[in-house]
Symmetry: none
Subunit: 218 residues, 4 copies
DNA sequence: AATGAATGAGAATTCATTCAT
DNA sequence: GATGAATGAATTCTCATTCAT
């Protein structure tokens, strides 16, 4: 029977192995896409034997899901770090939003390949994964909705259908992130793009004929 | 030397074959996804031989692209049908938008599976296809931008960064279409969802402290 | 659409292919046993591609069963050829049995490897195959029982439990065939062995104390 | 230097381990067959580690052989227990045979799964094992032959080819045991089946036309 | 001595594409 | 031109055995 010490060392080694496999998988998935990725490539990248893979993950989809879980956990961990100084008026709200999104964008930068991987390939991996992915989006929408509800309650947001609008915001964010990362918005800096999008979200593109627009606070 | 008549009959038959293969491919791709679809299933659904497939399309990706081309052509044909009565003020603009999007949504209903297929699986099919897909999105964004530019020029839209905003609008539209089709917005009718989104796009969710909001023109 | 002629040629070719695969499988199974046989070896022996195998048989067990079916069909075909001159008394009966079994043994000689294969490996191939095998044995037992019933009815066989005795006869036959083929009965010719066994089956090894034994009619 | 006491304790522990592995192997082999059995399943059933297995047995075939050896030893131990009151005439001989076989059958009941395992799967395990198995059958045949020789010498058995007949008896016994255990002789009790078989072995199924048959001494 | 994590050779199977008819 | 049989490269996954602790 193995000693307590041995058990701990084993557990540590095991965790390291698992992490190494996940890291290798991340690299390979990003490089080849989910469908093009080979288990054999993952293990060789991780410096492990073929059989070892199957001691840690059921199959390719298994490691993809595990990778996603790790990713989601880190994302929400970052969000929870963000101070939630709730704004008192629309200007504060806008400023806080811009600041928050900039921070998110900066953090996301390091994970951008992974994020794009999940957004792009996730829906084709399988029904089970799709549900997981949808759960992630829902989580983000719920976060957005929390802010929106607060603003509506405070009177500095329009009493819109907060659920639908939150979802639209999340969609817009992912969409524009992709556009940006693909270099489809070449004449704006990321900071300006964020401002532009926040203004759009806050004030829309419309202007009452009168001209007293609510937009472009610059 | 075949007669002119014979030649035409052959060409017609060929065209029908091709269409049959495309229709079968559409059904199979929708059912199984791009990666799960089998050429053998497509040809058997089209009532053709395995080898025949390769007389009409280079390979699996080839028929997927051809399917997409046919789809895009039909989409833009529908758009071009739409009368382009340019609006004169923001209320007209909003009303025209709602009406247009409702029309689009109604038409899209019949193609929704195909549309979703391209949106979901397109990015994983290959680099070449991704470019095609991006071209499609760009085309739609350009359409949106045309309207937006007109409105800005006419003074009833905020002078925003029309390019980025157009892209955001397209993204929002596809996102919400997916959400809707997946039943993620259960407490709204499609008509109300469209109004809600148009209002969001026109006026944002913000409200100047003053209260003279620009929103909910209902 | 293919011509009638083409169809027939295809069917013929197909049949040849199938036979070639079965022959190759027989050789490989005999050489390596069921569990040691590789599909890859079968196809290479048949001069076919790996994928071709799976056009003709579901898997290794599939071709094993097909081989068995072909074998059983040929065995019963041989039996049906045998004239069924029913004997009139115990001497005729014994003589006819010896003659029949010699004929069977001679014929079996060419299939002996295959027969042994099925007897030895059959029970380990899978439940489905075991049922098939049992069916074969039952068929043989039924044949034996037919003769036995006739003899009992004619008064020149003991009114024994014909069912159990028939099974025992079949078992004895397979057992001794194996022994013989493994060279475990070295001091008898096959003809003598058959006589010995027939005598044993007819008269047992017992001898009433009186001495008027029923055995050794030689 | 370990004490004598310690050495003995170690040896005892080792022996227990080995027995536990053998017991586990028996269960797994019976459940899954030789080829379907996994070493991992055996060790987990024995509550041992994977590596431990190889400290006790060379490989999977090794434990199978060891299991067989243990089995054979116990079988012959049982036989040696049986009192060998040699019969004086054919009636005594028959009665003694029935009694002996009944006793054997009763004892075999507890080992029937294991016995069937060896009979069925043994021939597919490997040449080495097959020889072992044949040795077992030979041993039984030799036992049978001893009785038979005695009877022939005493004048109450026909002077048949004792070697071949003994083998046939063993084959018949195993065959009918399998038939019985598979429920293929549903209309007889085990006792009746044994009598039926013994009568068959003693007197055959034949009957001289005269009618003074030697059979059915009931 | 015991353990169980790691290994990798090996086998089955699939399916896009080719090609003889 | 149409066909569908043939192909084999490619990939996954298993499991007996080894080995570091």
């Amino acid at each position: 029977m193995p000693s307590e010490f041995r058990k701990q060392a084993d557990a540590r080694r095991r965790e390291q192995r698992r992490e190494a496999l996940l890291d290798a998988a991340a690299a390979v998935f990003v490089r080849r896409g989910y469908h093009g990725a080979l288990v054999s490539e993952i293990v060789s990248e991780a410096g492990a034997g073929q059989g070892t893979f199957y001691r840690y993950f059921r199959d390719k989809q298994g490691i993809f899901e595990a990778l996603f879980d790790r990713f989601v956990a880190s994302v929400f961990a970052e969000f929870s770090e963000m101070s939630a100084n709730l704004p008192r008026n629309v200007e504060e709200y806008r400023a806080a939003s811009v600041a928050a999104i900039r921070r998110i964008a900066a953090r996301a930068e390091g994970n951008r390949d992974l994020l794009m991987l999940f957004v792009r390939e996730g829906p084709t991996v399988g029904e089970a994964f799709e549900r997981k992915l949808r759960g992630f989006y829902d989580g983000l929408a719920a976060l957005a909705r929390g802010y929106l509800d607060h603003a509506i309650a405070g009177g500095f947001a329009r009493p819109c259908h907060a659920d639908a609008v939150s979802q639209a915001l999340v969609g817009m964010a992912f969409w524009m992130a992709q556009q940006w990362w693909h270099g489809r918005v070449p004449d704006l800096t990321i900071e300006r793009l964020i401002e532009e999008m926040v203004d759009f979200a806050f004030f829309g593109f419309g202007r009452s004929a009168a001209g007293g627009d609510g937009g472009t606070v610059r």
